[in-house]
Structures are given as structure tokens and as C-alpha cells.
Symmetry: C2
Subunit: 361 residues, 2 copies
DNA sequence: CGGCGCGATGTTTACGGTAACATGTCGCCA
DNA sequence: TGGCGACATGTTACCGTAAACATCGCGCCG
């Protein structure tokens, strides 16, 4: 009776699907999970039954039955809220799909990471997800290693022998973005570097420089300033680049969108038109990229997808740590070049000696 | 064998606790869930066993066994990323604790809410969480009602007869914040309103005006401008208030932190010192409140806690819809006045006729 | 003093899925 | 031609918890 009511309310179970397809529940399970050892014909049958009944596996049951009730920790420092919210969206999505239990902890200072980490480990987490910049903290990694926990680093600079990682190819992306600017005729550049505590900062710069080198453009046509990924630091760096007495660049590459947005704001204040007088490009494609005007040309980093992958990967890692076979997996996600309004053709055809853009007081 | 390994790795089960306490698993379950019909002595025994074994109920098993495998939808429009990320943190936390399955969907335009909603309902969600401003969309609410789904509105203006709500007392908070300014000697004010599509905008204004009225300050000492909760709109509104030829206010109350931050930025650009020449207060205590300088005096809204409560509440609602008894619960969360550096004593002791603050070109 | 009722606890079963093992069905080679 | 192995599928048991029902002990009342 009670059972009847339950069934009526919630969706189909694997058994319903099995009956519909005329097979056993186990076969359905196989179709869903791996597809190994199932005839194509049978698989089709099952798949259509799944569609007809609008069946979704229950994550709870799944995690209960699968011998591993995964408990995973998400340790974050203080990334931009734009990054964090997208990351959490992905995490929430995947964890509720898979039934993983996620414990989230913020550690305010990298120094305190050890303590927070201990707390998570004591709470019984089997694996950890480390978004940037924590994935590059040697201290944190050592602690995790000592505790024998599984770990997944998101967006570190390099693959790692000790943990699974999920990255994009920052260098290639920066190169491609720079080539986009070169294609628009730009020859004098500004570059705002990211925080030195993250390897990606360096990689983005390297990609940028590599593209310039390939185009035969020397370092003297480039003004490089230090930034720290924050809006504020972008403003400071942009000020140095634009207040220069030397001819100002026709394009500025900021190592993330926050700094690019700051650069655009400053440019406007100084009376430059973007992209008429000055092209500006960012990196990451965070919400701010379309919140400002003109919308930023940037590189899209699939943060939500990477978060989803991180959840799956950490579960893999936990399994791997238990069986002790195999090596940590290293995933490379695709990036996308997003061309919006903040980049345009270079002003006055590639003349290096012409006057700088007008500078109203 | 396999079982042995599992046990060794993961935490204690309810059975372990039962054995330790010398009772049956069911008694343990009772202690944890309600505590009804259990002798105090037995309860103590069980509780200490729980502590000793560091036992935590498995959310997966719990949601599987409890006849209700809750599937809940989180439908969001485009709140600020600061709000969203904090909200998601709370949601993730609670959903993984309780084992609820959360499906997140973004609906880009309020017009499209119907379609997105339909998608969630077809996916079998039993209840919905609606952060602002969706909780006030009549269209969305009608759709939900029609589908017979449970719903929880977060931060709507008023309690509702049709759905559970979680709010803070915006009017009282605004009043308290205004009284803080009055206490500092301010007598000429600016106010930047929030988006008219949200009732809270109105309530914050009302609280502000109520405090002024109580202090005997007339409307002529107040300059009110329309804003829309965005940084950009705050900038525009602040410009109108500060560019006035009339004596500028000594304090500006912005209906949220984004707009307050914009006001502070503009004030600096115009050469005012904050809070020396001008006090600025915001609302919500979002990340931006401490990212700017000076850090904003504001009202802290416990977003993460409200999100956690929303998850619990929607599960209650689902249960309630099924049993058909009781009325939707209306929760009121506490707010906190946070005094930081952006508010200070009014310049030149409450003289109304004195010269406006210096205005460099 | 016997039965009734209630509070405290135990037992059984189900939740939805998957691992491990069992079975069945071929094709291939000695 | 018989047996063996690989692949396809079914069966059984169990994951950790809570609902439903069963049981037990005890006090109270007629």
C-alpha cells in the first residue's frame, strides 16, 4: 500500500525499466554504467525504455549499493565569487547526481589550511577537491599526502604525479588569444600579469610572449605590469601602462577578466574608446566579462564542467587509493576563445611611429 | 571479506552504534531522529556510543529508506555572483548532509521561467527553492501551484499563504542602520533605492524613512534616487545625488552593497573622503563590502544559513504537501548590523546651513 | 487478581541500486 | 564431436536506514 503510494509519486525505478524492456534490472544497470557485455540490440531496448519512463537512477541508492559511500571535502581559499559560484554550481550538480557527500570548508588564510584540512579529515572525508590557488600550496599537499587522502587539483599549472588534476592549456589559450589580437593588426601591447603564487599566471604570460615572438615582435613593443587577479590590482597596473609618456599600446592583455574590466574602466575614464582606440582582452570568461561595457573578448574556461569532473575524478581517486593500482589521472579540458566587443582592429594601420591616441585631460 | 574492508575504511554504521550501546539499531534511529519513546537512560547510552564511534548517519541510506527520496529544484535568475556563491555554499552543505538531490537550473529571463520550470518538474522534482527575485514572480508561482509542487521562497517581501518563506526583517534592519547614522549626527541623507521588482527594495526605503520620521527629519533633507541593485545603477544614482548643486548629504544609504561600493568609488573620484566627508552604508554584507576601501558598514544577511534552512524547509513542505496537513512555515532569520569604516561622525556638527563639503574640480 | 493499555524496545521488511556469482548460449579447436 | 572459453544475461545478497508491525513489561482499574 505504502509502496504503491511511493511509486505513484516518484519516478520509475530500475525495475520498472527492466520490466518494460523485458530484461533483468542488472542488465539495465550495466547499460547505464558501462555498457560492457551488452548486445547492441538489448542496449537499444533498454535505452528506449529508459526514455519512455523518464528514468533517472537514484543517487542515494547508487552510492549506498556501490561499495563506497564517498565523502569528499571541498577546500577553498578565496577565489573570486564569480569563479566560486560557477564552481559550486558544477559541484552541486554532480554531487547530487552521484550521491556523493560534499563537505565544504573555507580556509581564510593559506597558513590555516592545515587546521581546516585536519577538521575535514577527522570528519572522515576520503578525498579532497582543491580549487585554485590551494592546489599549488605545498603545505596543503604535504598534509593530504601524509593523511593518505585522495586529492584532485583544479586548474594547477602542471600535471602532478601525486594527485589527479583538471586543467586547461593556459599557454595555448593565451597564445591563441594573442594571435587574435595580432590578426587585428595590433603591434604594441600591454600585459597585466596574474598573481605570482599561481603557475597559470606565468603560463598565460608565456603563451602571450610566444605568440609575439612567433610574429617577430620584440619585447620593446610590450609593456608588462604586475597584477594580482583583483580588480584593484588591475586598476593600478593599467594606470602604469596607460599613464606612460611613451606611445600607449593599442591592445592590453589582462591575465583575467577582473583586471581587464578594471582596465576598461580606467580607459574610459581617461577618454579612450574601447575598442576604437584600445583593445582589451581578459581571461576566464567570468560573469564580469559580460557585465561591463563593452563585453570582454576572453578565453572561456569551463569552470562548471571542471567542477563536475572534479567530483567524478575524486571518486575515481578514492577507488584508486583503495585498490592501489594505476596512477592519478590528469584531465585536460577544452577552452574556447570568445570574441566580444572589447577587441577590434588596431587604430591607424600598424604604424609604430604615429601619434598616440588622443588624450583628453 | 569485501564487507570487512568496507567497514574498516568508512565510518561506523548504525549497527555498530547499536551493538556498542547494547540496543537495537531501531532504538538508535529513534534517538537520532525524534527521541520519542526512548528512556532517558537508554538515550544517554546511545548518545555516548555515537560520540565514541564518531558516528554520522549516511545521508544516502537515510534518503533511500525514508520513503521520500527528495528531489528538489533550485531555480535562479541572475542574482549577484556574491549572493549566489554564498547561497550555493549553504545549499551544498545541507543537501549533502541530508542526502537531498538538488537540480540546479538557471533561467536567463523571467519570461522563460515557465519553460525552465517545466523542465525541472518533468525531471521529477518534488519541491522548489526560489531565491530572489524569482520568489516574487507571480507567473512562476502560478506555474508551481498548478503543478502541485512544494515551494520555498527565499527573501521575498512578505510571508505567503501559498508557500513557505525564509526572510529577514528588512524594514527593521533598515531602521536600525539608519538609527546608527542618526546616532553619528547625520541629518542630510541620500538614499539609493533597489530594483522595483523586489518588495525588499520598498521595505528598506520604508525602514529608512520611518527612522527619519521618528527623528523628526523631513523629506526635504533627503535625496532619493532610483537604483537597480547593480554597481552600474548605483554609480548613476550616486552621480545624481553628489552632482547636485544643493548641499550634498553627509550620509548615503544604498539599498545594497554593490550600489554602496559604487557610491564610494564615485565619492573618491570626486575628491570626498569616506567617511570623513561622507558616510556610506550598504545592505546585505556581500563579499564586495569588505573588498572595497573603506569597508562598508552594512546589514549582514545570513545567506548561507537561509539556504540551508531552505533545503530543510522544502523537504518539510514536500512532506506537508503529501500528508496535506498544516500550513506553509514562515521563517524569520536574524540580521546583524555590521559597523565598519565607511560610516563615521557627521562632518561639522549637525549645522544644516553650513557650506557643503569641499568640492575639488 | 486478571486483563487492558501504554510506553519502551525489538524484528521484519523495503527503499533502489550494484557486486559477485551463477547460468546459459554460442563458436571454435583439438 | 565434445569440451572449453568468452560473452550475454539472470540471481542473490547486501549497502545503511526508517516505517510498520510485533513483543514485552508494567501499572492501573474494575
Amino acid at each position: 500500500m505504502a509502496r504503491q503510494r511511493r511509486r505513484a509519486i516518484q519516478g520509475a525505478t530500475i525495475r520498472d525499466v527492466a520490466v518494460r524492456a523485458g530484461v533483468s534490472p542488472m542488465t539495465v544497470s550495466r547499460v547505464i554504467n558501462s555498457g560492457d557485455n551488452v548486445r547492441t540490440e538489448t542496449r537499444k531496448l533498454v535505452n528506449s525504455a529508459i526514455r519512455e519512463l523518464n528514468y533517472t537512477p537514484s543517487p542515494a541508492a547508487r552510492s549506498l549499493a556501490g561499495s563506497v559511500p564517498y565523502r569528499i571535502g571541498l577546500l577553498y581559499d578565496n577565489p573570486s565569487t564569480g569563479y566560486l559560484s560557477e564552481f559550486l554550481l558544477g559541484t552541486l550538480d554532480e554531487s547530487s547526481r552521484t550521491g556523493a557527500q560534499v563537505l565544504v570548508e573555507k580556509c581564510v588564510e593559506t597558513e590555516l589550511a592545515g587546521a581546516t584540512l585536519g577538521k575535514l579529515l577527522r570528519a572522515g572525508v576520503d578525498g579532497l577537491i582543491l580549487p585554485p590557488p590551494l592546489c599549488e600550496s605545498a603545505e596543503v599537499l604535504a598534509e593530504i599526502h601524509k593523511a593518505g587522502a585522495a586529492a584532485v587539483g583544479v586548474a594547477p599549472g602542471h600535471p602532478s604525479a601525486d594527485m589527479a588534476t583538471i586543467r586547461i592549456d593556459n599557454e595555448a589559450a593565451a597564445r591563441e588569444l594573442t594571435e587574435h589580437l595580432l590578426g587585428l593588426g595590433h603591434r604594441r601591447f600591454g600585459f597585466i600579469k596574474g598573481h605570482p603564487n599561481q603557475t597559470v599566471s606565468e603560463q598565460r604570460l608565456n603563451g602571450f610572449l610566444a605568440a609575439l615572438a612567433q610574429a617577430g615582435i620584440g619585447r620593446d613593443a610590450v609593456r608588462i605590469e604586475q597584477g594580482y587577479f583583483t580588480y584593484r590590482s588591475g586598476l593600478d597596473a593599467a594606470e602604469k601602462i596607460l599613464d606612460d609618456s611613451a606611445p600607449i599600446p593599442t591592445a592590453i592583455f589582462a591575465a583575467n577578466d577582473d583586471m581587464a574590466a578594471a582596465t576598461a574602466a580606467l580607459a574610459h575614464r581617461l577618454g579612450y574608446d574601447v575598442p576604437e582606440d584600445l583593445s582589451i582582452v581578459g581571461f576566464d570568461d567570468q560573469p564580469i566579462a559580460v557585465a561591463v561595457w563593452p563585453a570582454l573578448t576572453t578565453v572561456h574556461q569551463p569552470v562548471a564542467a571542471m567542477a563536475r569532473a572534479a567530483v567524478d575524478l575524486v571518486m575515481d581517486e578514492i577507488r584508486r587509493m583503495r585498490t592501489g593500482i594505476g596512477a592519478p589521472r590528469q584531465l585536460l579540458h577544452p577552452y574556447t576563445l570568445i570574441v566580444r566587443e572589447s577587441s577590434g582592429p588596431a587604430p591607424q594601420a600598424q604604424g609604430l611611429s604615429s601619434d598616440p591616441a588622443p588624450r583628453p585631460t
